[in-house]
């Protein structure tokens, strides 16, 4: 993609150096009968440069839980992680981190706010109000909405948008903060196949304008092959790292590449790992 075609407004400023380390993470939940269920078992990962890392695994394997830990969010009020730690730039991450922003599969947009106010929401918070002057954030919101193709929908509410448009709003709200780490929890999982492809394309464009560390949870093998610089395959409960490899093919990846021997070999490799990981469970999706 050439420079002229980059979405306006998101400057191509290189993200600052980055280090995210997941160290020996263990997560257990209380199970009925007083025992505990181990969901994540000794997972260690490290990310030291921008790129799209796909976190792939069977449903319920704990990949979302792991992603939440990277964001420092504790949804259930249970202590996470049970053992191990997440280090961002060498500092242990114990709460929501300013540099890490999440995009959820659903329920992310506020039904009471317009598209503009949904994207501008972070700047109503003291943290960002103090950091970004109003004139600047207004400009940023306008630019990112143009970049995701919603410049003409500022005054609409989420209920008046399609599923894909709603995820564009969610992406815009995350990227307007110019995060160094973008955490995506099956963001396109609820969309139809065609919209999902459009959104994958959009993500690639946005990433090229703002190269950050994207950790992208999915259970869609094709999605992993289309988007990932790196693919991390987790095993079924308890989750362990079953495979971790790099895809060097440049994005956007053509349909020809997707049918190439290389791509098919990678797909085979992922599927083999997943089948070993979850014998008899068919929750892995392959599209195309």
């Amino acid at each position: 993609m050439n420079v002229a075609a980059k979405p306006a407004g998101i400057s191509a400023a290189a993200a600052r150096p980055l280090s995210v380390v997941v160290k020996d993470i263990v997560q257990e939940y209380p199970a009925p009968g007083g025992s505990v269920t181990r969901v994540i078992d000794q997972v260690s990962l490290s990310f030291d440069q921008p790129g799209i890392s796909m976190l792939l695994g069977p449903s319920g394997c704990g990949k979302s839980t792991l992603l939440h830990m990277l964001g420092g969010v504790r949804p259930m009020g249970i202590d996470t992680p049970t053992a191990g730690k997440v280090l961002i730039d060498g500092v242990e991450c114990i709460g929501p981190h300013d540099d890490a922003v999440m995009v959820f599969q659903r329920y992310a947009n506020r039904p009471d706010l317009t598209v503009f106010d949904n994207v501008a929401f972070p700047f109503r918070l003291n943290l960002w109000k103090a950091r970004v002057p109003e004139a600047e954030w207004r400009q940023r919101v306008a630019d990112i909405l143009k970049a995701v193709g919603l410049a003409d929908k500022l005054k609409l509410r989420p209920a008046q948008l399609s599923g894909g448009q709603n995820q564009r709003v969610a992406l815009a709200r995350a990227l307007v903060l110019r995060p160094r780490i973008l955490l995506m929890d099956e963001p396109f999982g609820a969309l139809d196949a065609q919209t999902r492809e459009e959104m994958q394309q959009l993500l690639i464009e946005l990433y090229q304008s703002w190269p950050c560390l994207v950790v992208f949870v999915t259970h869609d093998v094709t999605e992993a092959l289309v988007l990932g610089d790196r693919v991390i395959v987790l095993s079924a409960q308890p989750a362990r790292v079953a495979d971790d490899f790099v895809i060097s093919e440049a994005r956007p990846r053509s349909a020809t590449w997707q049918r190439s021997r290389e791509a098919q070999a990678l797909e085979e490799r992922i599927l083999t790992q997943l089948h070993q990981a979850s014998p008899g469970r068919g929750q892995v999706r392959v599209t195309v």
Binding site: G71, G72, V73, P75, P96, D98, A100, V101, M102, F104, R106, Y107, A108, R110, P111, D112, F121, P122, R124, L125, N126, L127, W128, R157, A159, Q160, R173, L177
Partner: protein, 265 residues
């Protein structure tokens, strides 16, 4: 008839109006027949036209409108109590909904009163606050606030956790999550609680005005009862029902104007 037992079948506006008007007319007809035939004596049940006469008498007589004055007094008491219910009840309900510890501490004090005989509190209030306006407003306040507080709490707790998590992830402090995300999301249901509170106060207004009222619709009814002027008693009751209905309709309209997104979802 295939659409009769179908709760989702649309009903056109005219048909709905005719059915509603029809049943009111039927009631009036039965009422008229009972009085005309003498099946029920006029000392026990005044005829509809006698009630209409009483209404016009109360509305304008000797250059004075007793009904208008009484209505102003009742509405005034209701508004004062309503403002207090909103100003005190909503913050308490929000705190209970937003902080489990506050809820655990206050719910034993609030929840049982929903089924408590609030009317039985009246003598106690008279003992404490006397027989003046303070007592009447306190009575309306207690009657309504015990419904409002639990409803506001439930409204807060009904907001999906994902909005809290989402705001938290964007860097909101816990208090910012509450007042920037959870409260705005709970507003339509909080508005419902206010609507219920006003309906409850309309049902209690006559009770509040039974004791030593010199003015008000409750006093008007009480006074008429003392002279066995049943037509005026009926007229007073009808006026209260009409006012309560108007209040309800207005507040529902206002809620739709303020929170149009709720019905869009």
């Amino acid at each position: 008839m295939s659409e009769f037992w179908n709760p989702y079948a649309p009903l056109d506006g005219r048909q709905r109006q005719w059915l509603g008007v029809g049943s009111v007319l039927a009631l009036l007809l039965v009422w008229s027949l009972l009085t005309v035939t003498g099946l029920v004596s006029s000392t026990k049940l005044p005829a509809p036209w006698d009630v209409v006469t009483a209404l016009s008498y109360l509305s304008w007589h000797d250059g004075d409108s007793m009904l208008f004055t009484a209505t102003l007094w009742s509405v005034g008491r209701l508004l004062v109590a309503g403002v207090l219910v909103i100003a005190i009840g909503i913050p308490i309900g929000i705190c209970m909904g937003a902080a489990p510890r506050v809820n655990a501490a206050l719910s034993p004090l609030v929840d049982p009163f929903r089924s408590a005989p609030v009317v039985a509190l009246l003598p106690i209030l008279v003992m404490w606050l006397g027989i003046g306006e303070t007592m009447k407003i306190a009575f309306l306040f207690i009657g309504a606030v015990v419904y409002l507080i639990p409803m506001v709490r439930d409204a807060i707790q009904a907001v999906p956790q994902s909005y809290w998590i989402g705001a938290r992830d964007l860097g909101a402090t816990p208090w910012e999550c509450i007042h920037r995300a959870v409260i705005p999301m709970a507003m339509p249901r909080i508005a419902d609680a206010v609507i219920v509170a006003f309906s409850v106060m309309w049902t209690y207004i006559t009770v509040a005005e039974y004791v030593n009222a010199r003015q008000g619709l409750g006093q008007l009814i009480q006074n008429a009862r003392r002279f066995s002027a049943w037509d005026q008693v009926f007229a007073g009751i009808i006026v209260i029902i009409a006012l309560a209905l108007a209040t309800y309709q207005f507040m529902v309209w206002l809620k739709r104007r303020l929170y149009p997104w709720e019905t869009q979802q």
